[in-house]
């Protein structure tokens, strides 16, 4: 059903310059029994929507409009802009495709890796936008996480031999598995360490982990697969204490080879703190150039407090015990607060 809607939309909205594409689509409709032409059309559509000559916001809007299940109004609500603004964005994007003659084509093999990254980034942006959105009964914003996963599944169906496509899908499934547990009714984010793991969706976890194992077998790693593997390690742990943090550190080591950004290094430092203690982690964090970034400050503050607490070990017994008790309470409160801000900011990162 989604497929026919996508085809109908393209037929209605394709420009004069895309008459050949329209003809191909009409041809495809007549041969609906065959997967080949329809599959090719959808691949061409995805790569066109996510062409680098279009800005990311335009790529996302076009993808959701032409491949996703959303109307212009729904996309506008999802990204908290007015409908005319979103309509204008779509008109400009289609105008650029038409006037600059962005080709309606699956990229050649040597361009495919870069172009595919663009597609995956657009889908992941949709997912993160949905993940960071406030939950709750008033679902005024369409469920972008579900849309992103739908697109991820479509990509996996169309490109089953691309490990990064599978990696992204696994990453989104595993992150989604925590949706029931990652937010309070009031809309506050619950840090990973404090989440009720019984509320994690086991079906999504099982599916995500199965895809991660499939990716490992293919031995063709990439950033999305590694991020998915990190989530899989978290999902493996029955409790926060049972988390295999040293494996997570190793995975971040691998991820850094693809993505040297300070955010990745910071996340790695958080894992290092669990393996080697807050001291070494603080040294890593201090070496990062993150200025006044909230996550950076929260992580640093937390590490400092944990170190300050260890220093208390040298006080006389009674005072030491009292200091430990109050320190523990203060520490967990602040960690919760810091982690809450951390999760909120991390979730809002594209």
């Amino acid at each position: 059903m989604g497929r026919n809607r996508a085809i109908d939309r393209l037929r209605r909205e394709a420009s004069r310059a895309d008459r050949h594409a329209q003809a191909a689509l009409l041809h495809a409709r007549e041969e609906e029994a065959e997967e080949g032409p329809v599959r090719d059309e959808r691949l061409r559509l995805i790569f066109t929507c996510c062409h680098p000559a279009l800005g990311r916001a335009a790529q996302v809007a076009l993808t959701l409009r032409l491949l996703g299940g959303l109307t212009t109004a729904e996309i506008a609500r999802a990204f908290l802009v007015t409908e005319p603004t979103m309509a204008q964005r779509l008109v400009r994007a289609k105008g650029k495709i038409r006037d600059a003659k962005i080709p309606y084509r699956v990229p050649a093999a040597h361009h495919l890796p870069d172009r595919l990254q663009s597609v995956l980034a657009a889908v992941y942006l949709v997912f993160n936008e949905g993940y960071a959105a406030s939950s709750g009964a008033e679902l005024v914003r369409p469920d972008l996480c579900s849309e992103a996963i739908r697109l991820g599944r479509l990509l996996a169906e169309l490109m089953p031999d691309e490990p990064e496509v599978l990696g992204l899908l696994a990453l989104m499934l595993l992150a989604s598995s925590r949706r029931a547990a990652h937010m309070t009714a009031g809309g506050d984010l619950v840090p990973l360490a404090d989440q009720d793991r019984d509320r994690w969706d086991r079906d999504l976890v099982v599916e995500g982990q199965s895809i991660v194992r499939d990716c490992l077998r293919r031995s063709d790693p990439g950033p999305y697969q590694i991020q998915a593997a990190i989530q899989a390690v978290h999902a493996d742990a029955r409790s926060a204490e049972a988390t295999d943090w040293s494996q997570i550190v190793q995975l971040y080591d691998q991820l850094l080879a693809y993505d040297r950004s300070p955010v990745v290094a910071l996340n790695r430092a958080v894992a290092v703190a669990e393996v080697d203690g807050p001291g070494p982690a603080l040294a890593l964090v201090d070496a990062l150039d993150l200025g006044t970034d909230h996550i950076f400050l929260a992580v640093r503050a937390d590490l400092l407090r944990r170190l300050g607490r260890d220093v208390d070990r040298h006080r006389p017994t009674a005072r030491r015990k009292a200091a430990r008790r109050s320190g523990r309470r203060r520490r967990s409160d602040r960690r919760r607060q810091a982690s809450r801000r951390t999760r909120r900011r991390a979730a809002s990162r594209p």
Binding site: H51, A53, D99, A100, K101, I102, P103, R105, P107
Partner: protein, 117 residues
């Protein structure tokens, strides 16, 4: 075929050393030869410095002539190509070559179709 303009954006002030200009010139010459062999070359040339420009501006029903470029900016168009290629990806492929040869940003812009009056 679609016509595209590929414009070189050059920073104002200062001339690069002659050896650099020479090596860029050689690469661009090779690129233009290939453009011509491919039947894609329509026109290309470098422009003189912005200080050599003159602006003719309408005022009332007449014009005012002033010395100098239209905009005093940090960059100016240093030269351009007009190429005829099937689509944007082809134009970008040539622009990539130009960008790497000149070490400068290249703007790729499509020409309008000729209107039928």
């Amino acid at each position: 075929m679609t016509l595209y303009m590929l414009s070189i954006y050059q920073p104002d002030g200062g001339t690069p050393p002659p050896e650099f200009l020479e090596s860029v010139g050689r690469e661009l010459h090779a690129m233009n030869q290939e453009l011509k062999s491919a039947g894609a070359w329509v026109f290309s040339r470098g422009l003189h410095d912005p200080s050599t420009a003159t602006v003719v501006r309408p005022r009332d029903r007449e014009v005012v002539i002033t010395d100098g470029p239209y905009v005093e900016g940090k960059e100016h168009v240093g030269g351009f190509w007009i190429i005829a290629v099937p689509d944007l990806d082809s134009a970008i492929a040539w622009a990539r070559r130009a960008a790497l040869a000149t070490t400068l940003p290249i703007e790729v812009r499509p020409f309008q179709d000729v209107p039928e009056y």
